[in-house]
């Protein structure tokens, strides 16, 4: 249809794109960590996010907690789930061919989704806490999305600080650069794997918790997020952590701007065409491969 795009409209979608992009970045950072450190493609990343969303939902609806206060609780809970999964299952496929890890995490993903369907049913649920928007000039800032943006930005920042500054973070990056050398230097690689997986699950959980306050949740909500996270880390460069940040914001912007100029349907096409182009032209991602 003939919609005349004004600068105000463009400003609106750019803002919306950046707001959702920050969430993409945070969730994808978890996936990038696991891939970087363990060389595992974790298909169960989205379902872990879904569990985080349900944790927040139940804490909010059953105990009446402020949903934003439940974010750290969801993160801790899913950190534990991540650690448990790593210790019981995932560690077995760390050095196995890539297909094994794909199959295993795919299996975990199916199991988690079906378990959630059994336990929580497929009914849609939502955390209706903060609605509406703040209007700044021509731009409406959705309240739950803006707060989610702030949370995502802060958590991603903390994760980077942790990776850059702390001894444990440095050990994680060292393991990601070369497992053998890290081992020789006395780093307990098993433990690093455990912590990385837990941390990634916690980042996914934070994403889930924040998403639960934006849209209605259901057990199958995770898969889309697995795909989006893949897209983000391929765009940014697999294993390159700042790349995840760039990729996330980029994906948010592409989706929104393409929806504005084309249609909502075509925006997905644009995102995935870009994925193919990046893989063809610059397979290491826009910021290059495993530079940490």
């Amino acid at each position: 249809m003939n919609v005349f795009v004004t600068p105000a409209m463009l400003a609106q979608v750019v803002v919306s794109g950046i707001l959702s992009g920050a969430l993409y970045a945070m969730v994808a950072l978890g996936l990038a960590l696991i891939f970087g450190v363990m060389r595992i493609i974790n298909v169960a990343h989205g379902p872990l996010l879904m569990l985080g969303a349900y944790t927040t939902y139940f804490l909010y609806s059953a105990l009446g907690l402020n949903p934003y206060l439940t974010v750290p609780v969801s993160m801790l809970a899913l950190f534990a789930v991540g650690v448990l999964l790593e210790r019981t299952l995932v560690f077995r496929v760390v050095d196995a061919p890539e297909l094994s890890s794909l199959l295993l995490t795919f299996g975990i993903s199916i199991a988690l989704v079906n378990l959630a369907q059994l336990l929580f049913t497929s009914d849609l649920r939502s955390v209706e806490y903060l609605t509406g928007s703040w209007v700044v000039g021509p731009v409406a800032l959705s309240k739950p999305r803006l707060v989610a943006f702030v949370f995502a930005g802060a958590l991603t920042g903390l994760a980077f600080l942790f990776l850059r500054r702390t001894k444990l973070g440095k050990a994680i990056r060292a393991t990601s650069q070369s497992r053998e050398v890290a081992m020789v230097c006395g780093i307990d690689v098993q433990r690093i794997h455990l912590i990385t997986f837990g941390l990634a699950a916690a980042l996914a959980a934070a994403g889930g918790a924040l998403i639960a306050m934006i849209v209605a949740i259901q057990p199958e909500m995770g898969q889309t997020w697995t795909f989006k996270s893949f897209l983000v880390i391929v765009l940014g460069g697999a294993g390159n952590y700042p790349g995840a940040l760039l990729g996330g914001i980029l994906l948010g912007l592409i989706e929104q701007v393409a929806s504005l100029f084309l249609t909502t349907q075509l925006s997905e096409v644009v995102a995935y065409v870009l994925l193919v182009v990046v893989l063809l032209v610059r397979p290491t991602g826009l910021l290059g491969g495993r530079e940490t």
Binding site: T6, L124, E128, S133, A140, S142, K143, V215, A216, T264
Partner: protein, 395 residues
């Protein structure tokens, strides 16, 4: 021949004759495949309960053709391929006397091929897609009958009410799937017929929950009406984001999903003024509707949905046609179904020569103070719509 042997022969004959008599008075078995698990489980189960209540009511009033009625139901797990296999089994192995339709358009579309092949009449109470019934002459289906209103009629009430109140411009958005596309196309047609201007139309992919860009475009055009052909999650997300982006049409309506209690539970006050469409409500003044509502609640411990009512009514419609035909013979039952005009708890039934429903009416409701209030069509509406919808910042 000894008396002993004679006795044995008599006994054998008695068993045979007895068996035959029992056969003649055995129940009429009606087969159906329903979505008892999987994606459509909730709705398929309601339809199943509608069938069960119909079975009970028929048997309480002397059965059908002097025989008891018994449903044979299998679970198709909400997949068309399984349903196809189950209808084959019902017809060829279980040798059922009749069949009733499954849940949903896609499953009905697939199953109808089987029932046509074996020339079995199938009243399909939960298929709303026009293309199942309206087909090119060389692919015509003879034995499948529609009960509910087609997808194209879902947004008719919203557009009609708005037109009567002098609104001029419409924006139509829809999920890009079979049902929603048909509902959107229907809305565009009706709007044009009423002389309104469709200023915007866009589809979005299934599972989409971010409508910022789409709504930014809608807002820039400032339409009087936003008509959205939705399912549940998109209806919720769209409504929330309309508030966030301050998109304030004078009337805003959705299709499926808007009629679920969860719609209000999720959106709370933001659901106020939203219009929705439904095939059936228990408050509608159809004969026996009130009693059906009570009996259903008593029997199953929860309220019926329109799927329950359509299942119940579909089964009664089939039974009525069998009664009038006086036989289970498919061609004679078909003749009756084509002629039949009936008013059930679900509303009116009458089909054209393709088995396509032409009498049943959709109703449009509006969420008012947490309740669905029927506001259209006028002759069935107990209340007036709250019109126009006030802008978000004045609520």
């Amino acid at each position: 021949m000894t008396t002993k042997a004679l006795g044995a022969v008599v006994a054998a004959m008695a068993v045979l004759v007895g068996g035959l008599a029992a056969q003649a008075q055995g129940p009429i078995r009606i087969g159906a495949s329903l979505s008892l698990t999987g994606t459509y489980a909730k709705l398929g189960r309601n339809q199943h309960e509608g069938y069960k209540l119909c079975e009970k009511d028929l048997n309480a009033t002397g059965g059908l053709l002097g025989r008891k009625v018994e449903f044979v139901v299998y679970d198709d797990q909400s997949t068309p391929a399984t349903a196809v296999r189950l209808y084959e089994k019902l017809i060829t192995e279980d040798m059922v006397d009749g069949v009733m339709g499954p849940y949903s358009s896609p499953v009905t579309e697939a199953s109808a091929n089987v029932t046509e092949k074996y020339k079995k009449v199938m009243v399909a109470p939960l298929a709303a897609t026009t293309s199942i019934f309206k087909r090119p002459p060389d692919k015509k289906r003879y034995y499948v009958f529609m009960v509910i209103s087609p997808a194209e009629a879902y947004l008719e009430g919203l557009i009609d009410m708005a037109a009567k109140r002098g609104l001029k411009t419409v924006a139509v958005v829809n999920e890009d799937t079979l049902f929603s596309k048909a509902a959107a196309a229907g809305a565009v047609d009706i709007a044009k017929k009423k002389g309104m201007q469709v200023v915007f139309q866009e589809a979005y992919p299934k599972g989409n929950t971010d409508f910022a860009a789409l709504l930014t475009k809608v807002k820039s055009l400032n339409p009087d009406i936003v008509a959205a052909a939705t399912y549940f999650d998109d209806a919720v997300a769209l409504t929330r984001q309309m508030r966030e982006l301050d998109v304030s049409p004078k009337a805003y309506g959705v299709t499926v999903g808007g009629d679920l209690p969860e719609f209000y539970d999720t959106l709370k006050a933001n659901a106020e003024y939203v219009y929705g469409a439904t095939q059936w409500e228990h408050v509608l003044p159809y004969p026996g509707n009130h009693e059906f509502f009570g009996a259903y609640k008593k029997e199953f411990g929860h309220e019926p949905s329109y799927h329950s009512a359509a299942g119940y009514a579909g089964c009664l419609i089939y039974a009525e046609a069998v009664k009038r035909a006086g036989t289970l013979d498919a061609d004679r039952v078909r003749e009756q179904l084509l002629k039949l005009e009936m008013r059930t708890v679900f509303g009116d039934y009458k089909v054209d020569q393709d088995g396509f429903q032409v009498a049943h009416r959709m109703v449009t409701f509006q969420w008012q103070e947490g309740k669905k209030v029927v506001v259209w069509p006028d002759e069935m509406a107990p209340a007036k719509p709250r019109f126009p919808t006030p802008p978000w910042n004045q609520r």
